[in-house]
């Protein structure tokens, strides 16, 4: 690696000031992507002259859950922190499932949620779960603080709505409604240490007579960004939570997604996976909503 100036600020304001002053300085957290990119020089950006570590900033740490206000995940929370959180496992199972399959144990102990989201990979395993849970991403920067819904954050491959010198501070997720459940799965040839060929998350809220009151479906690795399957959501809204409607939803999701062929799988295979996995995730999320 080429050399750089290293900073480890202990306050958020200090980090923002360093980003501004260093002009092109790159924030780093776990380093599992950035260090590798810098080593391989396979970067989409010029080699940074400054690296600003975010790990010592208390405001970016921590996971808190409250039954009425919901969940807050600080940007430097690691995949392990999220996957091991009892609150997240209980109330937001798809988020724990996404975080719990990123790379290896080593990766999950280092990689942060901020890094997973801000890298803007279409295959990021925490993105579909946050999309189906209507997460808000809290961002701070030179022009102050703002909050963006998850589905406005991802712009293109490797691109997010973050403006220059802005930082992701935390992810906020509303408290789940009664009789709701979520699930995430991805298809990979290897169980660990792999990148999603397709990822599917679903979140459902059921009425007392087992109809779908609220539905979110999100797909990873089938578009330039993680995306919601909105046509499928519209179709399912108000339908009974039955095998028949889930099977039809699977066909709708396969038809509405627009994957490409690459080294991980052909467009045709991905479309097939979207159908199969959407049905499975709807069933799993509905079972969880029923308390199963």
């Amino acid at each position: 690696m080429r050399t750089f100036n290293f900073y480890a600020p202990t306050a958020l304001d200090e980090a923002l000031e360093l980003l501004r002053k260093t002009d092109g300085g790159r924030p780093i957290a776990g380093g599992t992507d950035l260090v590798v990119q810098m080593k391989e020089a396979a970067t989409k950006f010029p080699h940074p002259s400054s690296i600003i570590s975010l790990l010592l900033i208390p405001e970016l740490n921590g996971i808190e859950f409250d039954e009425s206000t919901g969940l807050r995940i600080g940007a430097t929370s690691t995949m392990s922190d999220i996957a091991d959180s009892a609150d997240i496992r209980e109330h937001y199972p798809s988020i724990a499932e996404g975080a719990g399959i990123v790379g290896s144990i080593q990766t999950m102990n280092m990689a942060t949620v901020g890094g997973n989201l801000c890298n803007g990979a279409p295959s990021a395993d925490t993105a579909p779960p946050f999309l189906v849970h209507d997460a808000e991403f809290v961002i701070t920067g030179p022009n102050g603080r703002r909050s963006l819904p998850a589905d406005e954050f991802f712009v293109g491959p490797g691109e997010t709505a973050l403006a220059p010198n802005e930082l992701l501070v935390e992810v906020r997720v509303p408290a789940p409604a009664d009789r709701s459940g979520s699930a995430y799965v991805r298809h990979t040839p290897r169980k660990q240490m792999d990148i999603a060929v397709v990822g599917v998350a679903a979140a459902v809220t059921l009425t007392n007579d087992d109809r779908i009151e609220n539905i979110r479906i999100a797909l990873g690795a089938v578009a330039p960004t993680p995306v919601r399957a909105t046509k499928t959501e519209t179709f399912l809204s108000g339908q009974p939570a039955s095998d028949e409607s889930f099977a039809e939803a699977a066909e709708t999701a396969a038809a509405e997604c627009n994957p490409i062929s690459d080294v991980r799988g052909s467009a045709e295979f991905r479309r097939h996976l979207v159908g199969t996995l959407t049905k499975r995730m709807l069933e799993r999320a509905a079972n969880r909503a029923r308390g199963g």
């Binding site: 750089f4 100036n5 260090v35 990766t107």
Partner: protein, 156 residues
Amino acid sequence: MGKVNISFTINGSSHQIDVEPQWTLLEMVREQLHLTGTKEGCGTGDCGACSMIVDGRLITSCCMLAPQADGSDVTTVEGLLANGDLHPVQQAFIETGGVQCGFCTPGMIMATKALLDRTPKPTLDDIREGLAGNLCRCTGYTKIYEAVMTASGQEI
């Protein structure tokens, strides 16, 4: 591009040193502290040969910047030795033949230590998952799994 002054504990002894900002924890430990038990395999976080335990968590030291180790407590394979005796995990790898060329072994041993710290009696699936980030290109996985079973006091 000045050096960075950091303080940390490694294998129970405290250090305060100046490090190159672009060095990884692995480079610092091998080149500056001359603890060469930890190996570099891929250098990109895929093979696990460089695994160390930092603040109780297994990490790949080839992906961690040395300055980010400031204030932390690091254990490398050298740190498992107690009063000249091998750690039970090390002993189990010897007894079961869980070592072929040996290059992945320090990482395998650290991953096993981290696994058993969390899950003292792992199932075979737990072991496969716990060691998924560690590659053995001699492909000696069966003996390695047997070493983990032995180290956890379970029948093979």
